[in-house]
Every structure is written in structure tokens, then in C-alpha cells.
Subunit: 167 residues, 2 copies
């Protein structure tokens, strides 16, 4: 009896995997990609620069644009501390529109000293790129290392302050 019930269950499983509703790739089931790409799973990221500019303008929040690459070790190291820093994550969640990108946009203002990763730029709701908000490096102004999170936090606050003083 138990055996026949088991066979019925097995047949049902086999049938449902063939006629089941969901498509499964030949290479096996995948974990759905997230928009955060690991830079803060609890944050609400915009998908594109156009979307970021629009939401920044309508919510009057500054936009942070973070350029990175999956296969870049400097990015991975920064991502770890960045995603675990509660103060940065909270400030970004509550006061910023945020975008992470693996491909460059057509806006040259987002690469004032070249295209490299990691690279963090701030854009005002007026669509002005805040090129004066820089990291500690003179060869790559918009780059940050994992040890520079304190400066990054200060730069977030600076972006908010600039926004308020110029309203």
C-alpha cells in the first residue's frame, strides 16, 4: 500500500515537472537576480539613470550613482563593508535615491575624471552632478576603499547639506 502511494506521488512529481507552469533553464534553477546586486538588499534601488533623475526630481532627494563590476575585487571588498554599514544603509534608505550600475550611461558628467570602478557620484534633484564631492584619492576622485566608509558617510551628509543650503 505504502509502496503504491509512493509510486503515485513519484509519477505526479514527474508529470508536474514536465507539464508544470514554470520554465526551468536546462542548466538548472537560478536564483532570481536582485536590483541591489548585494549593495543593500533592504534598500529600494532604481533601475536606470533616467528613473533615478525622475524620482530625484519628484521627491527632492539627491541621487547617488554607484558604478561597479561583479568581477572587480575592489568593488567586492567595498560592497561587503558598504552593505553591512547600518548608518550608511539607513541614510541611503531614508534620504537618497540610489542607483548601482555595471554599464556606463551616455551622460559624460558622470565620469568627470574617467570611467573606472568603484566610483560614486552624487546628483542633485536639479540634475546637477556634484563633482565637488570626492573621495580621498587624487588620481581617482570618486573612488573609495573599504577603509574610507567614514568619509563616504560624511560625503552623504555633505550631499544632503548642499541640497538644503541651496534651496
Amino acid at each position: 500500500m505504502v509502496k503504491s502511494v509512493l509510486s503515485v506521488i513519484l509519477v505526479l512529481v514527474a508529470v508536474s515537472s514536465v507539464f508544470g507552469k514554470k520554465y526551468i533553464p536546462k542548466s538548472g534553477k537560478r536564483i532570481p537576480q536582485t536590483l541591489s546586486k548585494g549593495w543593500g538588499d533592504q534598500l529600494i534601488w532604481v533601475q536606470t539613470y533616467e528613473e533615478g533623475l525622475y524620482i530625484s526630481r519628484t521627491t527632492n532627494k539627491p541621487l547617488m550613482v554607484l558604478f561597479h563590476l561583479t568581477e572587480c575585487p575592489h568593488c567586492t571588498a567595498l560592497k561587503k563593508v558598504f552593505s553591512e554599514d547600518k548608518e550608511i544603509q539607513r541614510l541611503l534608505d531614508e534620504e537618497f535615491v540610489i542607483l548601482n550600475l555595471e554599464y556606463e550611461t551616455t551622460d559624460k558628467h558622470l565620469s568627470p575624471d574617467g570611467q573606472y570602478v568603484p566610483r560614486i557620484l552624487f546628483v542633485d534633484p536639479s540634475m546637477t552632478v556634484r563633482a565637488e564631492i570626492v573621495g580621498p584619492y587624487k588620481n581617482r576622485y570618486y573612488s573609495y576603499e573599504p577603509t574610507d566608509l567614514k568619509l563616504l558617510l560624511n560625503n552623504l551628509k555633505k550631499a544632503l547639506k548642499l541640497l538644503k543650503t541651496e534651496l
Copy 2:
């Protein structure tokens, strides 16, 4: 004894939620956003149009661009059948570069007869928008209803055929 173990566990849980590594929004934990937005969780979606064009060119696969909005009932209805159609999902997964967007791009070629949702366009690896691949409606050429999936599947095959015959 059981009671004291329980209190210790409770204290540990409380402490870890305050000093835990991960940021949790005031409004409560969120489900991370996916790039698929529900249009096919098992598929690999590109994030931006620039990324789509680049990957289309380098892989020599046509790019499908799907414009939609979360709060559009026509989109939701199409999304349901679209994401459950195994043949469409498999063809997209294996032969296409795919992008879904909630915001328009700056490329006017992606809105030959206006900006509306849902709207599906195909772009060749040569970066030519295939405006001749249309749905069944004369007022909105690139729109599809849930009952038009057969035509959409044929249009996917048409995009592949055009690509091959013109190489």
C-alpha cells in the same frame, strides 16, 4: 530551567536585532526587488538599455525591450501569461537579450508610435530597431493582450529569422 533558557534566548534575539549586522528599515523587512519584476524570474535580464545594446552586439542575439508599469492592469494581465508561457520563456532565455523597463529611454526609435505600456520592441545586434515587428493592433502597433501570446511567439521567431537572413 526551561524558563531561564528561554529568557536567555529571548535576550540574545533582542540583542542581535539591535547589534546585528544587517540594516532593517523602520517599516519592516522588505523582499529584495528582482530585475525580472515578475516577467520571468528564471531568465537573465539586463538592467539598462546601454547594457542590452552592448550584450546584444557582443553575443549577436536580438534584444527584446519590454516597457511596462507596475500599476497598469493590462501589464499585470500580460505578465501573468507571459511569465507562465514555457515556450516564450525558453526562447527568450536561449536566444535573446532581454530588458524590461518602467521608464522610457532617450532613444526615440523605441517609441515609433508613442510611449505607452505594455509595449514590446526588438532591436538587432546592429542596433537597428525592428519597427516592422508589430502586434495585432492598428492604434498601438507594439502592444499585446494576454490572448496574443501566439503572435508574440511568432514575432520572437521573426526577430531571429530576420537576424539570420541578413547576416
